[in-house]
Symmetry: C2
Amino acid sequence: MTKIVIDTKGGDKGASAVIKGASMALDAFDQLSVMLVGNGEEIRTACESLVMPMNRVEILDAPDEITNYDNPAEAVFRKTNSSMIRALMALSERDDLFGMISSGNTGALLTGAMRHLSKKERIRPALAAVLPSQGGGFTCLVDTGATIDCTPPMLHHFAKLGTAFMAQTYGLENPRVGLLSNGAESSKGNKLVKETHVLLAEDNSINFVGNVEGNTALGGCCDVLVCDGFAGNQVLKVTEGTATRIITDIMKYAHKTQSEEIKRLAGYLMGIYDIGSLGGGVILGVDKPVIKTRGNAGESAVVNTAHMLLNMSQNKSVYGQNTYSI
Amino acid sequence: MTKIVIDTKGGDKGASAVIKGASMALDAFDQLSVMLVGNGEEIRTACESLVMPMNRVEILDAPDEITNYDNPAEAVFRKTNSSMIRALMALSERDDLFGMISSGNTGALLTGAMRHLSKKERIRPALAAVLPSQGGGFTCLVDTGATIDCTPPMLHHFAKLGTAFMAQTYGLENPRVGLLSNGAESSKGNKLVKETHVLLAEDNSINFVGNVEGNTALGGCCDVLVCDGFAGNQVLKVTEGTATRIITDIMKYAHKTQSEEIKRLAGYLMGIYDIGSLGGGVILGVDKPVIKTRGNAGESAVVNTAHMLLNMSQNKSVYGQNTYSI
């Protein structure tokens, strides 16, 4: 049995969508149990109406909420009775809890995770996205928005975090690290990328494969793609925007032609490219896995991220050793 | 009749592909005539074998070539007998030449255009891409790679160049300017974006609509999207990579299902999303339109960019007035 903590507050769609997602996840995965954190009464009522298996549900009452308007650093220290911070504290204190899901304030989640789940030296954590790459594998994009203005040593650090994560979660022997740039040649890049290129090339502990351009970012040429949080956010969102647009075009075409074949195709593509529900950002560099789902994430995001944590727990020893918190 | 200059050298596919493209463009557009610049003998032989209408073809012999290995600034001053520089000089000197197409060294083309086609104060030109946006309009993405490391005043300048270009080429009355960021709120962005946001918000000559995220970059919410050349390169290439990948998936699906309907759909989507052949980058901030096609551009890129120049020439008075060289 793998028990995960779910912060029910902070998402755009309210606690009810998160609890519904938790219920769906419990139905889908026998080996899952959950701790739901938030307004106790609201959670209890929802659990009853959804007829959830209460032997696999624990409720932690934490009535306060960190919103997107809160200053992250302040909120982490002040709103100690918020669902997010109480969830992080429980995760830190209890050995039976494996990981956590939250769709709340990203900055607060990062700061909170750093405060409560980083027993070793305080390092700058990163927010990674694990995306399906062409050809069947996965690419870990790091950073996707935790640190917007980066220095070369930060990107170097992200490369190490991503390497450790992909080695341990996906069992890759020597993950290939690419550096996002505007050209494949080592001379290409902005100042940050050029300086980072030198650091990565010099580090023998990393399998650095050089610069990677945006059109091949998810083409399967690397397992870890390193960039600053601003650029990573663009890669993630432009990919999503383009996919959504093309699928919308296909839906219109299907509607016009009334082709069942094309409707089936659209459904197939939506399953692959619905990045919003695909999973979430994984905070790298802390003691236990914390997954940030998008603010507008719906029920399916909870199911998918719960599934991701379940998969990770099969490599639990790795997380227990905390080796990916470099 | 609109006469354009075509640099036949510098592309990955050689002069023959460019000349073939010119031949196809002449077939497609009655109102077009061309000056082909490069190895005179090679051009003449190709023209003969393609049976081109020689009353609409002028050949300028410039045997030298600027390659991608040349240092742009040096090449512009040293390789004055190269096809690119001779083409730029002809464009600058002769009133009957409307614009130019080249797939050569981007840096040299920018530097050369600035030197030969910027009679007013020397300003930093930008490389814009005009992309079809969702809903039927166009978005001018500026910069896409001319200046990789930018300052806030540069981005402010790009906003003005893009505004003037979209007003004059597409007849938009008050083009909406967006600023690419990692969040819609004005507080979001890296240091560069935050500082630029203030400059754009203060400038009443610009119709600034605020920050735009990557997933809505080409969603039609702005006519001009401003960003540094590194980020713009990502938007362009990630869009292309995602589209190519999805279309490849659809082709495989079509092959598997042997559905004619889906093969037709794939063809339709390729027509829309083949960014490589869509057109090229437009150099903004110089006296006459210069279009940079991709290094690996094929025949269709020449046809499409010739078409773009023809469209522009319908607003020729505007270019003649040089008002978009702000």
